[in-house]
Each structure stands twice: as C-alpha cells, then as structure tokens.
Amino acid sequence: MTLGYLLTVGTFTGIFMILTLSLNILTGYAKQVSLGHAAFFGIGAYAAAILATKFGLSFWAALPCVVAVTTVVGIFLGLPSLRVSHDFLVLSTIGLNFIVGSVFKYFSFFGGSMGIVDIPTPTFFGKAFGTVGYFGLTFAFVTLAVLTSIYFSRTWGRLAMEAFGEDETAAKAMGINVAKFKIYAFAISSAYAGIAGALWAHYVGSVFPENFGFDRSIDILAMLVLGGLGTIRGAVFGALLLQVLPEALRFIQDYRMLVSGAVLALMMVFQPMGLLGKGSFLYLRSLGILRHFRRGVASGAP
C-alpha cells in the first residue's frame, strides 16, 4: 500500500464529503429527498471538462463559471419540487438523473459515450498539482464546504427549511415563503455539487456519462443517511466510512458489496438516524464520554 494509493482514496473521499454536505442541505435540512444527486455532480464535472478542453480555461478561471452553471441548472431542476413532493419528488429526481445522463450520452457536444478526455491537471503559480497537492486542494474545498455549512446551519434559511420539512402548511402560516427556500436549497446544494464535479473532472482527467449514473446517486444518499441525515458531522463521517470501508474490505474480494449492503440494512433497522445523527447511540455515547472527561478534569484541578 503506497502513499500515492492512500492519497488517491483520500482525494475521492474528500470529493464525496463535499457531495454529502451538498445533499445534506437539500435532503437533510429541506427534506427534499433527491435520488438524482449524481446529475448535479455530473453537470459540474462536464461544465469543468468543457470549459477546460474546448475553451482552454484554467481550473481557477473556470471554477466560478462551473459554480454559476450548476447553480442556475440546479434552480431549474428544482422547479418540479414546487409542484410535487415526497415520493413523487423522489421519482422525478430519479427521472432527472436519467435525463441528464442521456444528454451527456447522446449529444456530441458532450462527447457522447466516448466522454471528454485529456482534461489538464490544474496548476498553481505555473506548477501542476501532484498527488499530494491535489489531496491538499481537495481538502481545502472540504474545509470551505464544512465552514459554509456550519454558517448556513445557523441562519434563518436553515430554520425555515427545517420547518417546511416537517409541516409545509404550518410553515406557510408562519410567513415562510416555502417556494423561495426550496429553490434556495436546490441552488446552494447544486453549487456545492458543481465544485465536487470540477475537482473530480480535473483529478481523473476524463468524464464519462456512466460516472454520474443513478447508482452514484444512491451511493451519495447512502453515505449521508449512514452518517446521519441533517448533521454536518454525519455527512463527513458517512462519506469517509463508505469510501474507506470498501477499500479496507478488499481482502474479502467478492463479498464486500454483500458486507457493506448488510451494514446499511442493519443500520436502517437499529439506528435510522445514522451513526452520528441526532440521538444516535454513538453520538450520545461520545457526548457522555466527553462530559465525563471534562468533569474529571474539573474535579482534578487544584
């Protein structure tokens, strides 16, 4: 096991952390369950790939455009949520994922099933990022995503989302413009996913339609739910666990899908709030240990 291998796993883990944080705003806070989140991820990746290969923009110059494109597309793709909710919204996000995938596949502008290749590695003051550098770059963006998530979680916007997530009619009666905040959730969420897409495209160097399929959307949602829906710590931890676990389970080869599938199913039965979600066993225990430790320090002080 080389350092390069670990850094590569780490970089992908970081990209998925940004994606789970992205989905956490949409599904965790605003309760708009999306099973098509890979579409937003893909739009970011394709936007970055096209801007780099067809327009010759650098990673840095393209990034604001990528975020702008994904935000605008996110707003459009969020419009159905104003008409449909719950199960029907889930179905329409799945449909959306397939539509976006087909557009990538059947329009030659997007490279068709050959995808887009030869996406250059980003540079920083003329020097190309190596494996270590890219790992650092990714985690700089993870930190940014965590900090902005923490900031957002303390705003009225988050409170509004929690409210209509529980009871839309009651939220309206509170004077909350539900439509506006739903669209906000889609916009913010897809902006994050756009950044994750750009990081992916420039790291892998190529994008193909099947990179952003329905199975990937399930992965992202599973990570978030496993970690703890509606919490930032859960989003980060879930991505870490589901990216690292399959790698760690490589020694059992063919059975690893079975094991991670079983872990997920058992979790849903015994800890539906997620490993680190509100009121989960692990979270309460670690809080308890922390409190115990603090009390010990306090009483031990002279």
């Binding site: 409170l159 409210a163 939220a171 309206k172 009666a173 909350i176």
Partner: protein, 235 residues
C-alpha cells in the same frame, strides 16, 4: 379591519364555504361557531392564504389581500393558530417560537414578543430546550398560540383551540385572548365548536352551517337565541 365578502371555497366539486361575508373590527373578539365540517377550517385557511378561494374578496387593513401569498399576509399582521396546533414536533420549543417570529427577526421585537409569550404561558419558559413533541396537549396549544404571537399580529385567527383540551383549561386559554386585546390591542377571530365557552369571551359571533352563515349577532343575542341554545349549547 378584516372584511370578507361573498367568499367561496371549494375542493374539486365539493363546496366548503359558500357566500360567507363577515367582518372583524379593531380590538374586537369575534367567534365563528359551527359543528364539525361546517367550513370553519376552510374559511380560516382561505383567510390565511393556504387555500385559494373560488370567489369573493378578502380585505385586511384596507387592502385587498384575496390573491396575496401567505407570507405577505403574515407581514401585514395576520397570524393563525392552526387546528390541532400544528407545532413542529421535532424542533425545540425555542425554535418553534423563533419560527413564529420569522417575519419579525429584529432582536428587539423578538425579545419583546418572547416576554409577552412567557408572561402568558410561563410553562413554556421551562420547556424552552425540550422537543416540542414531548409537550402535553395543553402545553402544545399554548406553544401554538405563543408561536403565532411571535409575529406581532394585529388579527389572530384561532382554529378550534379548545379541541382536545382539559375542560378546566378551556376558559383559561380563551381568557388569554381577552388579555391580548387589552394589552396589545389585538383582534381575534375564533373558530369554535365549543359555543358555550366561546360565547363567554367574544363580543360578537357568526353561526356557520354547511359552509353558510346562518346567523349573526352579539354574544348575548346568540346565547339567548333558541336555535343556538338547542343546536350548540345543548340546553
């Protein structure tokens, strides 16, 4: 202050509210009395902008608000205590109250309104960090009323607040609306099945039957009316 003219609400082909006209003045307590399914909730929902009326007009503080979205109505000074309270059970009592002040947001307004709510319902202060879903039935209704007061409303719409309450608590809860009128100059429109208790606190009332206003008058007149006596007061 509130003027409703020829209001009609329908769900598909079923008419829930037909040709209802009513008014509420400044600093007035008004009841809408009616049995289950008389159209009380539909009426209040239309006033709040939660359902679109099929016809008629609603004006509030000299503005035609018939087509206004809910959030705009709240800003103008309308607030609703929904049927059954409809608090947010997974959020803390504190967050529920904050959400009531969504259109206020200024620190001073927030503190003032919180003080008012705590003076009316001291028990909420003790429960501030508790999940709202863990409150008792009476406490939930107090939270629902408190939450609606956080928006500094000029007119409070109250939907069936006595339902599911301990009989002992009903006069106490209804009494708070008189207090609010006295202290804050608020008007209240009270939709109630419990005519006996409602007619004790309001100034005037309307009787709603199958979506229509069949009777209107002062509280005293309604209490003395034979029809009301037999149908709603059980005398």
């Amino acid at each position: 202050m509130l003027l409703v003219d020829d209001l009609r609400v329908a769900y598909g082909k079923i008419l829930a509210v037909e040709e209802v006209s009513l008014e509420v003045d400044e600093r007035e307590l008004v009841a809408v009395i009616g049995a289950n399914g008389a159209g009380k909730t539909s009426l209040l929902s239309a006033l709040m902008g939660l359902v679109e009326p099929r016809g008629g007009t609603i004006s509030f503080r000299e503005r035609d608000i018939t087509r206004f979205p809910s959030w705009w109505r709240v800003r103008l000074g309308l607030a609703l205590v929904p049927e059954g309270g409809r608090i947010f059970p997974d959020l803390s009592v504190e967050k529920n109250l904050l959400l009531g002040a969504f259109v206020v947001r200024s620190r001073r307004g927030l503190v003032e309104n919180l003080e008012l709510v705590f003076s009316l319902f001291p028990v909420l202060k003790e429960r501030l960090n508790q999940r709202a879903g863990t409150l008792s039935g009476g406490e939930r209704q107090m939270l629902a009323i408190g939450r609606s007061l956080m928006a500094s409303p000029k007119l409070l719409l109250v939907d069936e607040v006595s339902m599911g309450l301990m009989p002992k608590l009903i006069p106490e809860i209804l009494g708070t609306f008189r207090k609010l009128r006295g202290e804050r100059g608020m008007s209240v429109l009270l939709a109630e099945q419990n005519a006996r208790e409602a007619l004790q606190v309001v100034d005037r009332g309307y009787v709603l039957k199958n979506g229509r206003v069949v009777l209107a008058g002062t509280a005293v007149e309604l209490r003395e009316n034979d029809e009301v006596k037999t149908a709603y007061l059980g005398l």
